[in-house]
Symmetry: C2
Subunit: 169 residues, 2 copies
DNA sequence: ATATAAATGAGAATGATTATTATTTTTATT
DNA sequence: AATAAAAATAATAATCATTCTCATTTATAT
């Protein structure tokens, strides 16, 4: 399934809701909350993470964006910071098969993805029934929810050549 | 979130239902259905994929298993064949963050995973309400379902040291 | 102002996966 | 059963994403 997909980061997709942009103060608060020092690089990386229209970004996406203003930035700094943000649960790491992982700032609601295995298009969606059902499942086991990942792989109606592929049995 | 997890393939987990073992004829039929030639290596790899108690396996898991009887097998053959099986939609590729992807033969029902971000334990589960809801979502958009991935990340009750981590907001 | 711990940048190292190529095997056809 | 053509294999090199190392710079608490 997934090996046939293009890497997530290179794809167009549809965003459910635009995010409000964060002030420099807001970005610094994020760093403080994580116990991290405030640097230009980190502010710039957070801004890149929070800029639309696509909110899940690869390390490469972020590097490309930030290098426009800070050409000396290196991959190591991006990955190091992304890992710290992940550990602090400020962002989610998403890996949908081949290619690089994507990262996105957590918002106050879970959202999910529909990806076409043929054209690579990704659509975000939300569903409270699914969200609540998953919450009940883990609550019933006395677990504590940390994150939910729901990905639906489809062949979409804009891919006529592939839409007659057999579904899984 | 995911960067803190151990690789999936190295973890213990709980299986929902044992799978029936396939005869050599059944395995050959799978290859024929995919339009692939029948070789000892492929039969052995399929057997390894279909053996319990854990049905999601890394390329390394498969290589280790098959090398017991065919020591000359190499990684390239494993990956090449897994990619063909994936393209033929006979198996699913699962990548839950860091480490290697896992592969599993598709069964007739979707199943999902709960993973503890602290200890790495993975539990499989099924839920018809979620499954049907996801099906309705894609049907409503005129898409054709190819696969569903539902992963819940938790801190589990056997991890007291981590169970008081704050949940995502 | 300064000491200390943390962060950065550059590049090397690692681990997973894919590509290359010469050799071997399968399978369809004599 | 022999054989030609296409496909598969094994070995290894190459690639890609990510992490590590270490010398230098920077942020922050005092």
């Amino acid at each position: 399934m997934k090996a046939s997909q293009l890497p997530l980061g290179s794809q167009q997709d549809v965003l459910i809701e635009p995010r409000k942009s964060l002030t420099d103060e807001g970005l610094k608060d994020i760093l403080k909350k994580c116990g991290l020092k405030i640097t230009e690089q980190r502010i710039a990386i957070l801004k890149a993470l929070n800029s639309g229209p696509r909110y899940h970004k690869t390390a490469q996406d972020i590097l490309d964006e930030v290098k426009k203003t800070k050409p000396s930035l290196g991959f190591a700094t991006v990955y190091r910071f992304l890992k710290k943000l992940t550990q602090a649960q400020m962002i989610s790491e998403i890996s949908m098969g081949a290619g690089s992982s994507c990262y996105e700032l957590k918002s106050n609601q879970f959202h999910y993805h529909i990806a076409c295995v043929s054209c690579g298009k990704i659509v975000e969606f939300k569903n409270k029934l699914v969200e609540n059902t998953l919450q009940e499942i883990v609550s019933g086991k006395n677990y504590k929810m940390q994150n939910q990942v729901v990905e639906i792989y489809v062949t979409c109606d804009q891919c006529p050549k592939t839409s007659n592929k057999k579904s899984i049995e």
